[in-house]
């Protein structure tokens, strides 16, 4: 008997912490890493009588993400209270959006082996983050830090359009790149500024109806997401093959055990008693506000990548790498303009930059050297005033602390010798000292040329421009 084939159906709920300076409903700082409970006020500590006041910057960032994801922006949106008791939540309700979220009906395209695929977005809504609980096992007590309480979040809810881990990761990467381009968040899964909950069900291949889904939480890396999807898919299929049914529940992924565990089932699912927050009037978003936000949207990665190929004649691969970070893309465009050598700029920013980023464990968004310095370096190298080895040294210094390459090579005496008489003398000496190889070359053995080049360079203490040496050597041979 043939076994039934199953198809996996996945929808994602992605939480993103927005990079605003202050919290969503008060003026407290959102900076990460401050001493516990030092970034709190009566509002975000939930003191009685304190009232929330909406940070309009949050609305603009949510709107920008929505516009970038082709969403419809509601003319009126409203905040609702989600009621549940937990100590990380000082009011015992979270201010979120249920009935009238800010964005609806969007989509993002991802690349799959079968070509481009549209993933529909159901909605994007704004809400506040909770505080952080710290369980002190030593003194057997729990402590709460409200610094994160009230940090703005958006939740991006996709339709169940994803079919496997590869698509999920492609979607998350697309989303992350888009949000980073907007400067709306750094989207770090490990640090929690991006969190993805995976809703997954399986169904018989070809079936149109959806199976019972589970929701997976606590996924802190793309690897965990991929493993959790694979594990949950297998678990559900196994249950169905055993004739059991899938229980609708929330499961928690344990990264160390590489397995998920039931948190709560539908039966004890909470009734959040959502209702409109009477402390916050509806937010009216007019066409003009939307236009202003739209006008400030950057050129996003797919368009940029295409343009690089057309405008600069770069390869698809170079264009892709350069546009994976808005910072990198900006560095490239500026360096290309200043140096007039886009391909050379691309080479530095893909090859050497990539190598150093990997070596230093950094991300492209953190690149801090100036395009002026990179353009100067390219100029020095292309004009033969420094050789490639020197250029690499100068680049590494510039990469780390934006050292001016010209100042660096001057200070360290690394400029190539421009005194042609000295070079001519060195070439003449090398030829005289090595008549054998010179003769071999003249007889057509090109290999000997390299040896002679080396001899000249040694005489010049490696400060000669190899191109210049080559021309001179050829001439004199």
């Amino acid at each position: 008997m043939r076994e039934t084939e199953y198809e996996t159906v996945i929808g994602l709920e992605v939480h993103v912490e927005l990079a605003t300076k202050s919290k969503i409903f008060c003026g407290c700082s959102t900076a990460f890493g401050a001493a516990p409970n030092t970034q709190v006020c009566p509002v975000c500590a939930g003191l009685p009588g304190a009232l929330p006041v909406l940070n309009r910057r949050v609305v603009e960032l949510a709107m920008a993400v929505g516009l970038a994801a082709h969403c419809h922006i509601g003319r009126v949106c409203r905040f609702d209270r989600k009621n549940y008791f937990y100590p990380d939540n000082p009011q015992n309700y979270q201010i979120s959006q249920l009935y009238l979220p800010i964005c609806r009906n969007g989509s993002l395209s991802i690349d799959t082996p079968a070509g481009e695929k549209q993933i529909r977005i159901h909605e994007i809504h704004m809400e506040e983050d909770a505080g952080k609980l710290i369980h002190d096992e030593w003194s057997d007590c729990s402590l709460v830090d409200y610094n994160r309480s009230g940090v703005p979040l958006i939740e991006i809810v996709s339709e169940p359009d994803l079919r496997n881990a590869e698509e999920v990761i492609a979607y998350l990467e697309r989303l992350r790149l888009l949000i980073r381009y907007l400067g709306a968040s750094d989207c770090r899964l490990q640090e929690g500024s991006m969190r993805a909950d995976v809703n997954l069900s399986v169904r018989e291949a070809g079936s149109r109806s959806l199976g019972t889904r589970t929701e997976m939480k606590n996924l802190n890396s793309f690897k965990a997401i991929a493993h959790a999807i694979e594990g949950e898919r297998r678990r559900q299929i196994e249950r169905l093959r055993e004739g059991k049914s899938v229980v609708q529940e929330t499961r928690r992924w344990d990264d160390n055990k590489e397995a998920s565990f039931s948190m709560r089932s539908k039966e004890d699912a909470k009734d959040y008693r959502y209702f409109p927050d009477p402390d916050l009037p509806p937010v009216f978003i007019d066409e003009e506000w939307i236009s202003r936000v739209r006008a400030r949207l950057p050129e996003f990665q797919p368009e940029k990548q295409k343009r690089y190929q057309e405008q600069y004649g770069l390869s698809a691969e170079d264009s892709r790498i350069l546009t994976e970070s808005r910072r990198l893309a900006e560095l490239f465009e500026e360096t290309a303009r200043l140096s007039g050598l886009p391909q050379k700029a691309a080479n530095w920013l893909t090859g050497e930059t990539g190598r150093l980023l990997k070596e230093r464990g950094r991300e492209a968004d953190s690149l801090s050297f100036s395009p002026e310095h990179l353009a100067a370096l390219i100029g020095l190298l292309e004009s033969g005033r420094i050789n490639r080895n020197t250029a690499r040294l100068a680049f590494a210094r510039m990469f780390d602390d934006d050292t001016d390459p010209l100042a660096y090579v001057t200070e360290h005496g690394l400029l190539t010798e421009r005194d042609d008489s000295a070079l001519e003398e060195a070439v003449r000496a090398a030829l005289e000292e090595n008549p054998g190889p010179a003769a071999q070359y003249r007889e057509g053995k090109t290999k000997a040329f390299g040896f002679l080049m080396g001899q000249v360079m040694r005489k010049m203490d490696k400060k000669a421009d190899p191109g210049h040496v080559r021309r001179l050597l050829e001439e004199m041979l």
Partner: protein
């Protein structure tokens, strides 16, 4: 005449005119408090006297130097205990907030202090403003200064009793469904619930956020207007606060009834209204008519839906507003409990009184899935209809006049045994909250037993000036309403 018999504005005038010092005013009111408080129990917390005298001296100095010139400078006043005062315990009349000292000042209290008002202390109230008698307070009931066997009304019973008993020259109350107007009526003082959004709610511990408003309680209309001038105004810390241009001008509202179109809803005079109250209210209307107002009866409709809609909305919001009182961060925590949920359950079971629990349960129920549409959304639709009915009425009338409560103050203990009847007592006041309208209650007579009766005037949103004008016109004819003489007056009345 005793200093404590003066109105707030008259006291302010005499202080500015060097006839009285701030210290003398403070001494007089503290003496009154010492004499009456053990019987009346208007306050939950009294400010430290040494600190008060020090502040009195600072205010005196500022007045003498000319840097403090407002009409309320140097006037001692009280604040309801659901309004946060920095450094002074704020309990909402509840055990669950015991020990809570706010680290910040409510905007309304801060505005009073800036105007040179001396804050004497925090007045008693029904727990979390839920009640109509001030008997649900964890700290015990307040007595009505007119008859100590009776309630002062509620929930701002402490504020109204303090003003009536001369224990404060004025007080701040809060009104969610009548909590200023009904006790003002029971205590023979004047109180106004302003248009929703007029006074900042920042620092007011919420009961029903979409209905709550802070307002003044005072000896007469002019005092109320002067206090409202100080506390009203846009506050960026309250998103529901409204920008309006007239705060600051209420004090100068002249008495004027001529030409005012006054409507009396038939619906407010029907079954359940005490005949003595009805007569006094209609007599007040007549007095206004004699001064040139046109008085007409009309049918408002929907009145019987106001109470259920009010309780559904207020309780729904309360169930969420009061969730933060959980024993985790401040206030009361049960001594013995097991685990997190045990702590929640024990702390809340012991920390809240039965009326508060009843309303939390009711509110949680109407918001729960499957009932939200049937109760909460339906109540919101009723609210919108009531607002429409008043919009309609205010096309024909400048003011709507009626009683503030079905009867004069009941005896202590009479109401709590029958909560539904107590809820129905809010029939004349809740509509103003549902529609966001201003409502003013001022004394218009006494029952045969010598208990005060109030008349309520309502106006369209932002039309407080009309209320003050008409109320002052009525007061000119009525004359100064007496202060209670306690038992002595009762005996004299016999």
């Amino acid at each position: 005449m005793k200093i404590t018999d003066l109105t707030a504005l008259e006291l302010g005038r005499r202080i500015r005119g060097r006839e009285l010092s701030v210290r003398e005013a403070l001494e007089a009111v503290l003496k009154q408090i010492h004499e009456n408080e053990t019987r009346i129990h208007a306050y939950i917390t009294l400010a430290d006297e040494t600190a008060l005298f020090a502040r009195a001296d600072r205010i005196q100095k500022a007045i003498d130097e000319g840097s403090l010139t407002g009409p309320l400078a140097g006037v001692p006043a009280a604040v309801k205990d659901n309004i946060c005062t920095e450094g002074m315990a704020t309990t909402c009349g509840s055990r669950i907030l015991s020990g809570f000292v706010p680290p910040y000042q409510a905007t309304a209290a801060a505005r009073l202090e800036k105007a040179g008002v001396l804050l004497l202390g925090k007045t008693n109230m029904d727990e979390f403003a839920m009640g109509s008698t001030t008997e649900t307070s964890w700290f015990g009931p307040t007595k009505n200064p007119w008859d100590e066997s009776r309630v002062p009304g509620g929930s701002s019973g402490g504020s109204c009793a303090a003003v009536a008993a001369g224990e404060a020259f004025f007080a701040l109350g809060s009104d969610t469904g009548g909590s200023i107007r009904q006790p003002a009526s029971f205590c023979g003082v004047t109180g106004i619930k302003p248009t929703y959004g007029t006074v900042s709610r920042y620092g007011l511990i919420a009961y029903g956020s979409s209905l709550d408003q802070i307002g003044p309680v005072a000896r007469d209309t002019a005092d109320c207007a002067a206090v409202l001038d100080v506390i009203a105004g846009y506050d960026p810390k309250d998103s529901t606060s409204v920008r309006r241009s007239d705060p600051g001008s209420f004090t100068s509202c002249a008495a004027s009834a001529a030409g005012l179109r006054i409507g009396i809803p038939d619906d407010y005079l029907g079954k359940g209204l005490d005949p003595e109250v009805k007569d006094a209210v209609l007599a007040a209307a007549e007095s206004l008519q004699e001064q040139g107002a046109q008085v007409r009866f009309f049918s408002l409709g929907l009145v019987r839906y106001a109470i259920p809609a009010y309780y559904v909305i207020a309780c729904a919001e309360a169930s969420s507003n009061l969730a933060r009182f959980d024993g985790v961060k401040y206030g009361f925590r049960a001594e013995r409990y097991e685990g997190l949920h045990g702590m929640y359950k024990e702390s809340r079971s012991q920390g809240f009184g039965s009326e508060v629990k009843r309303r939390i349960l009711l509110g949680s129920f109407v918001l729960s899935s499957g009932y939200y549409d049937a109760y909460y959304l339906k109540a919101l639709r009723v609210k919108a209809q009531i607002r429409k009915a008043f919009d309609e009425a205010f096309r024909s009338f400048d003011l709507v006049l009626g009683p503030a409560a079905p009867a004069a103050a009941p005896r202590l203990g009479e109401s709590l045994s029958d909560p539904l009847r107590m809820y129905l007592g809010d029939i004349y006041t809740v509509a103003a909250n549902l529609a966001g309208l201003p409502g003013l209650c001022l004394p218009c007579g006494k029952t045969k037993e010598g208990l005060p009766i109030g008349v309520q005037l309502m106006a369209d949103r932002f039309q407080e000036a009309k209320l003050f004008g008409a109320a002052r016109a009525y007061e000119q004819v009525r004359g100064t309403f007496p202060m209670p003489g306690g038992k002595k007056e009762k005996e004299a009345a016999r």
